[in-house]
C-alpha cells in the first residue's frame, strides 16, 4: 500500500466533494428535475384500516380545473409483472407485497388507493380532496399489546432452522434462572418513523412505451431498476433510475413502495412525466417504519459478575401481507461470554403497513433491551457497568466460535470512560446533583456486522490526467462520493481535486443498496480494484514512454501525484498523461468488480461502539436533558474523520430521539396514526442535542476489505438509547423500560 498518499488522503478530513452543491441549493433531489410537460400527482390514502373499496367517485375531481386523471384500482392499467412477480418489493422476507391499485382490498389505514394527476400541484392537491370512496369495512387489529401472544416464527426460520431468525440455544435453556443474581424484565420499543427531511418523491417518465426513467428517492438505483423492470416486464436496460442526491432515508429507501408504482402507472396513462412527492403524514404509513417491538430478557450471573445465562425473547410487528424481519436478538448471541444463551424471535402480523429497516435495524431495538438488562444486572451485583462488561468480554465470537477479524471494544470502553468523566459517576442512583438537576451517567454498547458485498466501478483515466469513476451507488448522506474520491486518490496516486466520482445512476456499474453500513467496504473495494487494474495497464504501456520501466514490476513502482516512478531510483519517472500520449490513447477505460473472498469467512466480522451519556433530570418536571455524549467507535480505518465523525454524531442524535421522544401512536379504534407530523411526532431539534464528542480507534481491519474499513452508520445509533435510559436510572433510580422516556414516566 502506498504509504505516502495513505497518510495524506485517507483519514484526511477533506471537505465533501458535493458540499458546494448542497450549500448553494444546486444539488438536485428526486422532485427537482424539470421535464417538459411535467404534471403533478397527489396520492389519496384510504381512510379505513381494513376492508374493500366499494366504489370510487371521481366525478367532482375530474371536473376540477386542470385535472388530467384520477386513477384507482377501477381504471388503472394492468401492471404486467404483477401476475408472475411474487416479490417486486423485496427485501421483506415473505408474503405478498402490496401492489398499487391491484384490487379493491384495503390492508391498512393510509394505503394509497388513488392518485390524482393535474397540471399544477395546487390543482392536484385540491382535486385529491374531492375523490370520494365507499367501503365495506372489516374489523381491524392494530393493537400490538393486546395481541402479542399471537406472534409467529418467520417463514424463513420455519424453512431453514439454520436461519439467523430461527430459535437459538447455546448451552442450557433458561440457565439464568438458577444463577446467584438474576434480573428479568420486559422492554417496549414503540414504532419509530424514519422521517428523513426529504419527503419520498418520484418523477416518472416513459420515454417510449417500453422505456422508463425514474428520478426516485431510493437507496439503490440497481435494485430499483431490477424491481421496476420485473414489474413492467421490461429488459433491465430499458429502465433508468436516477438518485443523484437523496435527502436522508435511514432505511426507508431500501424497499420500493406502492406510491412509486402509482406514479409510474400514472405517467403511462397520462403519457406525460409525472411528479409525486408524498406529504409528511404519508411518511408514517406509506414508506415503512421501525416496528413496535416487545422484548423480555432474563439474565443471571455468579456473585463475582460472570454471566451464566441470557434468555431473550423479541416480538416485532409486521403487516398482514408481508413478513418483515430484523436481527433484534443478534447482539445477545455474540456480545457477552455467557455459556448459556437462548433467543426467540417472533413477528406479529397486524393490519398495518409493512415496516422497513431503520438505521441500526433490529440491533438498535435489541440493544435497548440487552444493554439495559446489563445495567440492571450490574446494579444488582453492585458492580460498575464497565467492569461488568469487561468481566464478560469475549476474545472470540461465542456464537460462531470464530476469531474476531478485529475487535477494539476495550479501547473504546477505556477512552470513553475517561472522556465522559466516568469516575465522577455515583454507584448509588440519585447521588449526584447540579443545582436542582439530578445528574446521571450511563453507557451502552453497540455492534453491527462488518458487511461487504459485491460491486463494480468504472474508471476513466483521461489524457489531461484527471480521472472519473462511476458507480450506481447512492449517497443518502454519509458522504460516499467524498470517501470514494479519497480511496481512489490513495490507490491511483492522483490528487483528490482531479478525481470525480459519479453516482446515483443505474446506467453506472453495479452497486447494492446503500444500507447495512456496507457501502465503503463494498464500493470502496471496487474502487481499489479498478485503480489496480488501471495501474496494471499503465505499467504495461509505460515502456513506450519511458524505456526504463520495461522490466519493472508492480511492487517496484510508486504511483503518486499523477506519475509512476521507480521506488529505487525515483528520478526515473513518467506521468500518466505522457503514457497515454505516447500510446496514442485519449483515455484508459476499465470496469472492474470486487467481492469478498472466502478467507474472510474464517473470521467473525463486527464493528463496535460504546456510547457514554451524561443526563440532567429535573426532579419536579421530569425533563431529561442529554448534557454530554462521548461516543467511541471501532470501525476499522477511518477514511474521512470529518464525515465519519458527523455520521456518528447523527446516529447519536437519532438515539437521543429514540430514547426521549420518538413514538408513533395509533388510535386503535380507527387503526390510524394520531402522530402524523413533526408537531405530534417529535424528533431531536438543535436544543435537544449537546456537543457530541466522537473518538475512533482508527485501526485497520484488512480482513473485511483492502482499505481496512468496517461499517459505521449503524453502530452510531445502536446502544445510544440504553445509554440514555441507564443514565436516567443512575440519576433518578427509576428504570424506564418503555421508550420513549418522557417526563410523565419520571414524575
Amino acid at each position: 500500500m502506498n504509504k505516502l498518499f495513505f497518510d495524506k488522503v485517507i483519514g484526511d478530513p477533506l471537505n465533501r466533494v458535493d458540499g458546494r452543491m448542497k450549500v448553494t441549493g444546486a444539488a438536485k433531489y428526486s422532485a427537482e428535475y424539470q421535464l417538459p410537460n411535467l404534471v403533478h400527482a397527489v396520492v389519496v390514502p384510504s381512510t379505513i384500516t381494513k376492508g374493500r373499496i366499494k366504489s370510487v367517485d371521481s366525478k367532482a375531481a375530474l371536473r376540477s380545473p386542470g385535472v388530467l386523471a384520477v386513477i384507482s384500482h377501477e381504471n388503472a392499467i394492468k401492471v404486467p409483472g404483477n401476475a408472475d412477480n411474487e416479490h417486486p418489493t423485496e427485501p421483506p422476507t415473505g408474503g405478498q407485497p402490496l401492489r398499487a391499485f391491484y384490487n379493491n382490498k384495503v390492508y391498512f389505514n393510509g394505503q394509497p388507493i388513488a392518485i390524482v394527476i393535474a397540471d399544477t400541484l395546487e390543482r392536484a392537491q385540491y382535486a385529491a380532496g374531492l375523490v370520494k370512496f365507499e367501503y365495506d369495512q372489516d374489523k381491524h387489529v392494530t393493537d400490538f399489546e393486546l395481541n402479542k401472544g399471537k406472534g409467529v416464527l418467520p417463514e424463513k426460520a420455519k424453512k431453514d432452522p439454520k436461519s439467523s431468525l430461527a430459535d437459538y440455544d447455546r448451552g442450557v435453556v433458561d440457565a439464568y434462572k438458577t444463577a446467584a443474581v438474576t434480573v428479568e424484565a420486559e422492554y417496549i420499543h414503540p414504532t419509530e418513523v424514519h422521517n428523513p427531511m426529504e419527503l419520498q418523491a418520484i418523477t416518472a417518465y416513459w420515454e417510449t412505451d417500453d422505456k422508463l426513467t425514474v428520478y426516485d428517492k431510493v437507496q439503490g438505483t440497481k435494485p430499483t431498476q431490477q424491481a421496476f423492470a420485473k414489474e413492467w416486464n421490461l429488459p433491465v436496460q430499458n429502465v433508468k433510475v436516477i438518485s443523484e442526491f437523496v435527502g436522508g432515508a435511514f432505511g426507508n429507501g431500501l424497499h420500493n413502495w406502492p406510491h412509486e408504482t402509482a406514479a409510474i402507472i400514472a405517467a403511462k396513462m397520462v403519457k406525460r412525466p409525472v411528479k409525486l412527492m408524498l406529504r409528511r403524514e404519508h411518511m408514517f404509513y406509506m414508506v415503512g417504519y421501525r416496528p413496535y417491538t416487545w422484548q423480555q430478557i432474563g439474565m443471571g450471573a455468579s456473585a463475582d459478575g460472570k454471566i451464566t445465562g441470557i434468555s431473550h425473547i423479541a416480538i416485532g410487528q409486521t403487516s398482514t401481507y408481508e413478513e418483515f424481519t430484523e436481527s433484534t436478538v443478534q447482539q445477545t448471541k455474540m456480545m457477552y461470554a455467557s455459556p448459556n444463551v437462548s433467543t426467540r424471535y417472533r413477528i406479529l402480523p397486524l393490519d398495518v403497513s409493512t415496516p422497513i429497516w431503520m438505521r441500526g435495524p433490529g440491533e438498535a431495538t435489541g440493544a435497548f433491551a440487552l444493554e439495559c438488562a446489563m445495567d440492571e444486572l450490574a446494579f444488582a451485583l453492585n458492580m460498575d457497568p464497565i467492569q461488568f462488561r469487561l468481566a464478560n468480554y469475549t476474545d472470540e465470537d461465542p456464537e460462531k466460535k470464530l476469531p474476531w477479524s478485529t475487535k477494539y471494544l476495550k479501547e473504546c470502553l477505556e477512552v470513553g470512560a475517561e472522556k465522559i468523566g466516568w469516575s465522577k459517576r455515583s454507584m448509588k442512583p440519585g447521588g449526584l446533583r447540579a443545582g436542582e438537576w439530578l445528574v446521571g451517567y450511563g453507557m451502552g454498547v453497540g455492534t453491527f456486522g462488518a458487511h461487504r458485498g459485491a460491486a463494480a466501478v468504472r474508471g476513466r483515466l483521461l489524457a489531461n490526467g484527471t480521472i472519473i469513476f462511476q458507480s450506481a451507488v447512492t449517497d443518502i448522506g454519509p458522504g460516499t462520493g467524498t470517501a470514494m474520491v479519497q480511496i481512489a486518490s490513495e490507490h491511483i496516486g492522483i490528487a483528490p481535486d482531479k478525481i470525480t466520482f459519479q453516482l446515483g445512476n443505474s446506467d453506472f456499474p453495479q452497486a447494492p443498496n446503500q444500507g447495512g453500513s456496507a457501502t465503503v467496504a463494498t464500493v470502496g473495494s471496487a474502487v481499489v480494484a479498478t485503480c489496480n487494474a488501471i495501474k496494471e495497464k499503465l505499467l504495461t504501456m509505460a515502456p513506450t514512454a519511458e524505456k526504463r520501466f520495461a522490466n519493472a514490476k508492480m511492487e517496484e513502482i510508486l504511483f503518486d501525484n499523477g506519475q509512476m516512478s521507480l521506488l529505487k531510483s525515483p528520478s526515473i519517472k513518467v506521468s500518466y498523461t505522457n503514457i497515454l500520449k505516447k500510446n496514442s490513447l485519449t483515455e484508459i477505460d476499465i470496469i472492474q468488480d470486487a467481492k469478498p473472498d472466502d478467507e474472510s469467512n474464517k473470521y467473525s466480522k463486527y464493528s463496535f461502539s460504546v456510547h457514554f451519556v451524561q443526563v440532567h433530570v429535573h426532579p419536579t418536571t421530569g425533563q431529561v436533558k442529554v448534557n454530554k455524549v462521548v461516543t467511541c467507535a471501532d470501525a476499522g480505518k477511518i477514511v474521512n474523520k470529518k464525515t465519519a465523525g458527523n455520521q456518528l454524531i447523527g446516529g447519536v442524535t437519532g438515539g437521543i430521539g429514540m430514547a426521549l421522544m420518538e413514538d408513533a401512536i395509533i388510535d386503535h379504534r380507527f387503526g390510524r396514526y394520531i402522530t402524523k407530523d413533526f408537531a405530534d411526532y417529535h424528533v431531536p431539534v438543535h436544543a435537544d442535542v449537546p456537543q457530541i464528542e466522537v473518538y475512533f480507534v482508527d485501526k485497520p481491519d484488512y480482513i473485511v476489505d483492502p482499505m481496512g474499513t468496517k461499517g459505521l452508520g449503524e453502530i452510531a445509533i445502536i446502544g445510544v438509547a440504553p445509554a440514555v435510559a441507564n443514565a436516567v436510572f443512575n440519576a433518578t433510580g427509576k428504570r424506564i423500560r418503555q421508550l420513549p422516556i418522557t417526563p410523565d414516566k419520571l414524575i
Binding site: P13, N15, R16, D18, G19, M21, K22, V23, T24, G25, A26, A27, K28, Y29, E32, H40, L62, R63, S64, P65, L68, A69, V70, H73, E74, N75, I77, K78, N103, N104, E122, P196, M197, F245, V246, G247, G248, M269, R279, R280, G477, P478, G479, K642, N646, Q647, I649, G650, V652, T653, D677, F678, A679, V683, P684, V685, H686, V689, P690, Q691
Partner: protein
C-alpha cells in the same frame, strides 16, 4: 378478490381541459354573465382563459435581486411558487406545515417559512433564497462555514439551516451555543448534524463580518 375489468381504457375522462366553469350558476351570478353568453363561451372553450384571468392574481416580487412579474393563483404558497413555477428548488419542502424549517427564505431580510405564507402576500417584497446568498462564485461566509464544519449530511435541510443561521446572527441571537440552539430549533436536521451547524454559526458570528 378478482380484479375488476378495466372500465376505462381511455382513462382520461377529462381529456379536454375544458371545465364547464361558466355553466355553473353560482359563478354566473358572480361574474354577471347571461347564461347564453356563458354557454357560448364554454362551447368555444373560452372558459379556460377567462377562468385563468379570474383565478390568477398579478404579483411583483424581487427574487434574488431579479424583478419578477408574475400572475399566480392566490392559493400558491411562496414555497411552491419558488420550487414548482420558478424552478428555484434550493428551497426545500420538508413538511409543508411550518414545522421543519427546510423552506426558510428571507423576505425583506427576515427569515420566513415559505410553506406557511402565500406568495401573493408578498407583493413588492424582496425574497432571498439559498440560490441568491452567494456573491457570484464567492460563497457566503455561512455557506463556507457549513462546508468547513461539515454542517450537513444529506443536504436536504441545509438551505433552510443556512438561511436561518444567517438570520439568527443578524437578529443578534447567536451569542452562545445555547442561544444558537434555541433560535435554530425551528430547523430540523434529521441527519443530526446539529453540533457542526452550531460550530459553523459560532465561527461566522465570531468572525464579526457584516452578513
Amino acid at each position: 378478490m378478482k380484479k375488476k375489468p378495466n372500465k376505462n381504457t381511455d382513462i382520461i375522462v377529462h381529456n379536454d381541459s375544458r371545465r364547464d366553469f361558466l355553466k355553473q350558476s353560482t359563478l354566473l351570478t358572480g361574474i354577471a354573465l347571461t347564461p347564453e353568453i356563458a354557454v357560448k363561451a364554454a362551447e368555444n372553450q373560452w372558459d379556460e382563459k377567462l377562468a385563468e384571468a379570474i383565478e390568477k392574481i398579478p404579483l411583483k416580487l424581487e427574487i434574488n435581486g431579479i424583478q419578477k412579474t408574475l400572475s399566480i393563483e392566490p392559493r400558491v404558497t411562496l414555497l411552491d411558487l419558488l420550487r414548482e413555477q420558478l424552478h428555484l428548488t434550493g428551497t426545500k419542502k420538508g413538511c409543508d406545515y411550518g414545522q421543519c424549517g427546510a423552506c426558510t427564505v428571507h423576505v425583506n431580510g427576515t427569515r420566513v417559512l415559505s410553506c406557511l405564507t402565500l406568495a401573493v402576500m408578498h407583493d413588492g417584497e424582496k425574497i432571498t433564497t439559498i440560490e441568491g446568498l452567494a456573491n457570484g462564485d464567492e460563497l457566503h461566509p455561512m455557506q463556507a462555514a457549513f462546508m468547513k464544519h461539515d454542517g450537513f449530511q444529506c443536504g436536504y435541510c441545509t438551505p433552510g439551516q443556512i438561511m436561518s443561521a444567517v438570520a439568527c446572527i443578524r437578529e443578534g441571537h447567536a451569542n452562545s451555543e445555547t442561544e444558537i440552539r434555541e433560535y435554530m430549533s425551528g430547523n430540523i436536521c434529521r441527519c443530526g448534524a446539529y453540533p457542526n451547524i452550531v460550530n459553523a454559526i459560532t465561527e461566522v458570528n465570531k468572525g464579526g463580518k457584516n452578513i
